[in-house]
Amino acid sequence: MEIDFNKILFAIIGLIIVLNWGLLMSSIMRKIGARVAGRHGIPWFQPWVDLVKNYAIRSQITHGVMFYLGPVFRLSGGVGLFLFMPMIFGSDLWINFSFKGDIILILYFQFFGMLGMALGAGEGGQPHSFIGISRGLSQFTAIEVPMTLAVISLAVQYQTLSISDIVEAQQGGFMNWTIITNPFASIAAMLSLLGAFGHSPFNLVKAPNEIPIGPPTEYHGTYLGVLRTNAAILHVVEAVLFMNLFFGGAGSWLELIVKSFLIYFWSVFVGMVFPRFRIEQSVVWFLKVPLILGIIAIILL
């Protein structure tokens, strides 16, 4: 088997672009949040400084092997999601390593990081981590159900399991986008996206003022730097996933940036408006509204 070095190179460049765009996006969103509250907010380069600071912490302590591997699993979840995601439609170079049936793998990778995190944070021994993990896993399981139903609905609608093919089927104007052609599945998935991004109504797991910060209570320094790097990548890649599935993909980087920003902004917008759910409320909510929409989407096909 021959190795396509060109593809690897472009995947690395794409990863760097995605990382920086993710950091910039998070800083813009925090800036918007601050302006809503009437503050100036952080400087725009704050996420980069935080990242450098975290990597520059001199002393680090460990609680065991899994404690090391937790952030590594999380990062490989995020990077894996990126690697199998076609970024730009119609380009040979920016489709990364996507293949027929990649959507199944991507659904799996979404859960992968969470599980690695659970193992790692569990070894930290901090009781707050355990509470955070149990909350996070139960919420994420509830998110996955409507998300999977929407994806199955799409797969049946387009008769394919390849993201590239789904994007291809949506070309030719916004009337062909899935959000128009299959609204129930789209709405179910967009509602579950709120939980996947973890903004306000569903940020009980990682909110700093909840059971201190949830699973990463014990993580510091480089560990935390890795987790934050992954969060930046994951946010962009998940936005790109939804862009590909429901909003017709992107023909250029500019289109990708605009669309992923708007998709991410949807979650921040909801977060600005609504207060936080408790975990039992959010699980029940996910199993009520988006799940019913997802089932309707399946039945209607």
Binding site: R39, P43, V52, R58, G221
Partner: protein, 230 residues
């Protein structure tokens, strides 16, 4: 007895203060063997903290110090009356986020601990635990005259007079109570110190570890924790 280990006799002395789960006990293993467990030495690390030298390259260290100064994560820990001066920092009026000051809920992730006012002996114990759990470049901002010389509680039986005898202090903000503006000025001073590479008090704490521990143990009579809280 090596220098790296705790003095065992000291542990025996204060064992009457231990919580029931921290006392010595006999545990039966799954094989039916009975072993003695001393939770303090078996479950906790007894190693001494190490000095972490700054990066040898001056350019790199200057850059990293700039990053540290621009990203101060403050431990959400309030003692005394000054803790009520910290929340206004995050409001639109003072908005400490502009200066890279952010609150963190856990000591592992934070770099700055604000001792906000008078410090009872009981609280000092918690402060030491939190301070020692913070990771190496760590800074202490002492608020109010109570931390400088005891303030109006100078003759109290239960509040300490000088904070710098127990943990090294980077910046003092005088006043009773200093307003949030003064606290912001303290943050600015701390940033100056960090950028100049002068805020190496975490290493100072390790170098003078025995002295600080002697001072701490002089007033904390029920010392029921390891010497260094890893």
């Amino acid at each position: 007895m090596t220098n790296d280990k705790l003095n065992k006799n000291q542990i025996e002395d204060v064992s009457k203060f231990f919580a029931p789960e921290n006392k010595k006990k006999n545990v039966e293993t799954p094989d039916g063997q009975i072993i003695e467990v001393n939770p303090l030495s078996d479950y906790f690390s007894e190693a001494r903290p190490k000095v972490h030298e700054p990066n040898s390259s001056k350019v790199v260290e200057t850059f990293l110090n700039w990053a540290r100064a621009e990203s101060l994560w403050v431990l959400g820990f309030g003692t005394g009356c000054g803790s009520i001066e910290i929340p206004p920092l995050l409001t639109p009026r003072f908005d400490a986020f502009r200066f890279g000051v952010q609150m963190r809920p856990t000591p592992r992730q934070s770099n700055v601990i604000i001792i906000s006012g008078y410090l009872a002996v009981k609280t000092l114990k918690r402060v030491i635990r939190s301070y020692e759990q913070m990771q190496n470049p760590k800074y202490v901002l002492a608020l109010g005259s109570c931390t400088i010389n005891g303030g109006m509680y100078f003759d109290s039986y239960n509040t300490i007079n000088r904070l710098d005898k127990y943990i090294p202090v980077d910046v003092y903000v005088a006043g009773c109570m200093p307003r949030p503006e003064a606290l912001l000025a303290g943050f600015m001073k701390l940033k100056e110190l960090i950028k100049a590479g002068k805020a190496e008090n975490a290493n100072k704490y390790v170098e003078n570890f025995d002295e600080y521990k002697a001072n701490q143990k002089k007033i904390i009579k029920d010392w029921n924790m390891p010497d260094y809280n890893w």
